[in-house]
Amino acid sequence: LAFLGLLLLGLQGCAPEAGPLVDLSERGVAPTLTAPPAGSPPVYTFSYDHRLEPTEDAQMYASLLDYLTGHTGFRFRLYVSHDSQDLVSGLESGRIDFAAVGALSYLQAEARDGVRMLAVGRNSEGQSTYRAEIFARPDSPIQHVSDLRGKSFAFGSRTSTQGYLIPLIMMSEAGLRLQDLREYEHTGSHAECVDAVLSGQFDAGALQDTLAERLAAERSIRIVATSAAYPSSGIVAGTGVPPEIAERVRDALLTLDPQGKDGPNLYRWHDSEMPDGFAEARPGEYEALRGWARQLGILDSGGGTQP
């Protein structure tokens, strides 16, 4: 009897845990998953300009949303935009509530409707401006911007301030036009731009300053030229966001301390355009850029034109 009990016990012990019954053979067309039903707590959509690898961007801003949730009590969800146009239209249509955008995207969205800049990112020196860097491989003969004539060049995203607008300004100031380049391409992000240059696909490229300085310090690239300082990227609120909500989000952003207590909870924040947190946006600080964008014809179209 004991052995029988032993066997039964052993066999019973091998039974898997119970769970819901699912018939895998009953197939159908999978429905499109929708947003949470009405009545659920509000979830604010947050999007961003593509700057690094898609997953890197997503993880970096996901850590920022965790911070915002902790300081505002609001719930956020990342929205990965198809491209800059999708982001700008989303802000305009209310599909996107908040977004981390570069100056160009901000100027484009602001130009179409009243998208508000809540806070401007501060660089590692504590300035709410950033620069763009034109770089080449360390062994490249390119020494000046003017040496780019007849060379191939890799830009960042078409809506990137540091990857496209400011390098265009630098070339224009050096007397170069896009036609003077042997060829050029928008790689979509700063990381892809670096990959394109280091792989030899292009002779030089344009990059945001913090990433470029780190890579130069690592002797992965050599900086050819550094732009003037322009207002940095920032966090904007879309047209559908109530002012009080935007206010609380802005307050939370201004108290972000990436160099201090909040640093460990942020993902690769030092590679962002706001490594030292945020500063209040000052009216008129984007005027110079707005002028260049209009001059270069990329403010309204969002696309590149000949400067």
């Binding site: 004991a2 052995f3 009990g5 032993l6 066997l7 016990l9 052993g10 066999l11 012990g13 091998c14 898997p16 845990e17 119970a18 769970g19 819901p20 019954l21 699912v22 018939d23 895998l24 053979s25 009953e26 197939r27 159908g28 067309v29 999978a30 429905p31 499109t32 998953l33 929708t34 979830v43 690898e53 898609p54 997953t55 997503a58 993880q59 801003y61 996901a62 850590s63 949303l65 965790d66 719930r75 956020f76 969800r77 990342l78 929205y79 990965v80 198809h82």
Partner: protein, 601 residues
Amino acid sequence: VKLRWRVAGAVSLLLVVMGVLTVASINRVVMQVSQQQAADRGLAVARAVASGVADSVLQRKYLSTQAIIDGLQQSTPGIRYIYVTTLDGSVLSTFGQGFPVQLLAVNRLPDGVSESTQHIRTSEGPILDVGVVVLPGIPSQVHVGFAEDAVTQMVNQTSLWIILLTLLGVLLGTTGSYFLGSWISRPIEALSRVAEQLGQGELDREIPLTRGDEVGSLCQAFNAMAASLRLKFAQLADSERRYHTILEAADDAGEGVALFRLLGDGDGQLVYANETFAHWYGVDGRAACTTARSLLPEPSDPLVWGRLLPPFADPPGGVAPVAMTMPGEGASPLHLEISARRFVYEAEPAVIWLVRDVTVRHREEVERALLLQQTITAQEEERYRIARELHDETLQSLSATLFGIKVVEASLHQDAPSEQIEESLGQVKGRLTGTIREVQRVIYDLRPILLDELGLVAAIHSLADQRLRAQGIEADVQVVGHSRRLDTHQEVAVFRIVQEALQNIVRHAEAHSAVIAIEFRPDSLFIQVADDGIGFDPSLVPSEPDTGSGLGLLGMRERASLLGGTLSIDSAPGEGTTVVLTVPLPEPMPEVPGASRQCVS
């Protein structure tokens, strides 16, 4: 049931119970660990899948995502399905044709939860659905389904092995415990056998010491105990021998010994009685049903039982003995004296009786009392006799003498003839002579002067003359040995015994002659008085002196006893009587020259 089987059974039961618990525990642990490992592996694989598809999902490259999950399922064993919910809400899966819509309701990850596992039952067997988010904060999930058949199969196989090992362990444990129990119980069984033999009195048995463990120590202790028991039994046997020797000595000394265990009702149960006691009281010495009260007649004083069966410890100085009278074998009763002493026997209160036969002492005491009474009576009789003799004979003789003197005086005044006066004086003289003889006889009866002056032999000669020959009985006094003087009290006592014997001859024997033989031996004096009279039957003479008869014989015996000697009487009807007196003499008397043998007739 033998100890070895008990041990084997207990060990088997313990092993089975432990086996059941072990199998259950291990099975549970293995199941949990396996499922946990499967879940961990599933999470790791799901995370890898999520990482692999993250870029393509974020860039909305659905074909790339589909290709990635198809490749991962083919390259990773155990994966039943993979499906991905994209940023746009569509579902990419590896099911190929269609999608089991029910899966979307299972294990959905709510906001804020990055991963989760869920066991589900399907027609294809149990499946573990592992869901992870592609990236935190991204509304895109990856779900991987792992078939759990392998886990179940592995757990079943493990359980089977454990059960088989447990069975083997039970068999080995039972066998081992049986032999272990045998090894342990063997000396214990030997110990039990020897203990049984020890209980049957075989004290010389010992257990061979072969082991140095606790059992060996037990055997060693047992042997030591047996040796101690042997010694104690030997001491006990020796003590019992001494005890029996004492009891036998008590038997030899004519003392009865009985042991009673005190009962609660004031009686005592006989435990032991020696032969003398058993003989006196007619009991079996070891009759357990005999009680003290059943042996003795109920005494007139109930307090006597308190002395015979003392309920408390003996007072200092002991308890006064109790005198009892029992019917004797003959007509004479048996006088016994019981001394009771309380003590502890086999841890219980008991009392021992020491019973002595005091019949002789009792008789002697009675005899002494009667002798004293007889002596007083004899003294009074002697005084009466002397008074009577003085009144009847001496006083009459003196009165007659006085009358004769008055006659002579009258004759002188009347001038009677001288012949008449002489005749009267002669009569007076004769009467005075007779009176003097009577007075001498009286004085002799009181205390023979010869005894003091010439000694025993001369006194006996004179006694024979005055008592026997004066009555016409022929007397022959024979003296053998060296006649010598004895101590005064010895001579008086012997003289009185002979005087009584001769007096009996005169009074009762109707004899014609008597022989008085006196023999002076070196250490004793032997006197025999024999007559040819009518004799008598000594058995008819009561031995007890309370009848008043036989006081003469008793007085003779008493005097002989006071001298330390013996007196015997041999007589039969028509055969005459012989009285023999033997008196020990302390030291030889000085030899009397020429007195080797005297014979006086």
